[in-house]
């Protein structure tokens, strides 16, 4: 039997917000790269994939958290995977029932949510130790963070690669679509460019911080 959780987190805004920015699954911890790159060739696909993943994340997180005192430690990973696979099967059939077009566009990547490291990572690192309500909130935060990251890729790739946003044309008929951006290499390039931007911002902040503390030290 697993030992009692040592430290439980109280519910706070940070429980939710952490997943959005500070621990953003894509940009900061670099988990779940495969669906990120594969389905973000349009903004609609990105949102659908993000929401499907959020649903699985919340469902499996809550169930794992509810069962955390009953799952023996030795077989916990296998149990989590079975729980996750159950929810993915449900989402898979759900999307098939709601929109067949969307199902075709996302293809095998709905079923591949099972092997998305974000979900197993959350189950192991958070849901297995915390109470149900904080888990629910934290999973929602992580899910929205993931959706946000997917969207930021999907929007850029759709605008550059097809000249549209959510299917609506943005530019006149003269616009020559930059086709490579909706093809596989575009995924790598756009994600790389976002990471470059964040790196640059972070380094600039650090430099400013160092400069301002240096000035303060000189003034003294």
């Amino acid at each position: 039997m697993s030992q009692l959780p040592s430290r439980q987190e109280d519910l706070s805004p940070d429980t939710f917000l952490r997943g959005l920015w500070k621990e953003n699954p894509i940009f900061v911890t670099a988990l779940g790269m495969c669906p990120t790159l594969a389905v973000t060739n349009s903004a609609v696909n990105a949102i659908a994939m993000g929401l499907a993943t959020t649903l699985v994340l919340v469902g499996s997180g809550v169930l794992v958290s509810m069962l955390r005192d009953w799952i023996p430690k030795q077989v916990r990973i296998a149990s989590y995977i079975i729980i996750i696979a159950t929810f993915v099967t449900m989402v898979d059939y759900g999307i098939q029932a709601i929109s067949l077009d969307l199902y075709a566009a996302l293809g095998a990547f709905i079923q591949l949510i099972v092997v998305n490291c974000i979900i197993l990572g959350r189950a192991e690192a958070y849901a297995a130790k915390q109470r149900v309500i904080p888990t629910l909130v934290n999973s929602l935060g992580t899910g929205f963070g993931f959706t946000l990251a997917l969207l930021s890729l999907g929007v850029v790739r759709e605008i550059l690669g097809a000249g549209t946003l959510f299917g609506l044309p943005l530019f006149g008929t003269d616009y020559q679509p930059w086709l490579v951006m909706v093809l596989p290499p575009g995924g790598f390039f756009v994600l790389g460019a976002w990471l470059l931007l964040f790196n640059w911002l972070r380094q600039r902040n650090e430099r400013r911080l160092a400069e301002s503390s240096g000035v303060a030290a000189n003034a003294r």
Binding site: A38, A78, D92
Partner: protein
């Protein structure tokens, strides 16, 4: 689909629709273990082995599930199967090459969550490959994965000696490189007929 020749299946999986660079499967180990050529090579071999074992087993399981009319359990069965296959490989490597076992480290159990392995099982089911076709498909995907991993490791070993701007350190640079490689592989598009 049944008429597809074995060569065409192999080339399609290995080069034209390369699993890593064109279909984005198995990106995590691709970014994680591509630092050194030797580790990349060993990782590639381990993945090929897991792919072959799980592809064969998935074929059997699917046959059984279809007979019993339990297709909705497919995903759960596949994932349990892959986890056991990885466990098998882990025991095998630990027994015969402890050095290799240490150098692969955490990435060995993580093959379970390598999308390429689950994708093989799902694709061979949806494309209705027979037993031999499935094995060839798995082998092709594994070879493609190893090829991409080796190319990347070679590039990164070179880059370790080069001076790159400060901002581009880490994952950003690797992703840009992967983009260029992927662009190069697009040149093969159309050689073997396409299906996504």
């Amino acid at each position: 689909m049944h008429a597809e020749s074995l060569t065409s299946i192999f080339l399609n999986a290995a080069i034209v629709n390369n699993f890593v660079l064109a279909m984005f499967l198995g990106i995590c180990p691709f970014l994680g273990v591509s630092g050194k050529k030797e580790t990349a090579w060993n990782m590639g071999l381990a993945v090929i082995f897991v792919l072959l074992v799980s592809s064969a087993a998935a074929y059997g399981i699917n046959w059984l599930l279809v007979r019993l009319g339990l297709e909705f359990l497919r995903l759960i069965c596949y994932i349990a199967l892959i986890a056991s296959a990885v466990q098998l490989v882990e025991m095998f490597i630990k027994r015969f090459s402890p050095t290799l076992f240490r150098s692969l480290g955490i990435y060995l159990p993580l093959i379970t969550t390598n999308c390429a392995v689950l994708a093989i099982a799902l694709f061979q089911t949806s494309r209705e490959y027979d037993f031999v076709q499935s094995l060839v498909f798995a082998l092709g995907a594994g070879v493609g994965f190893t090829l991409a991993l080796m190319l990347m490791a070679g590039l990164r070993e070179r880059l370790a000696l080069a001076r790159v701007p400060n901002v581009t350190q880490g994952a950003a640079l690797t992703l840009m490189l992967a983009g260029l490689l992927s662009l190069a592989f697009m040149g093969f598009a159309g050689i073997g007929g396409s299906h996504g």
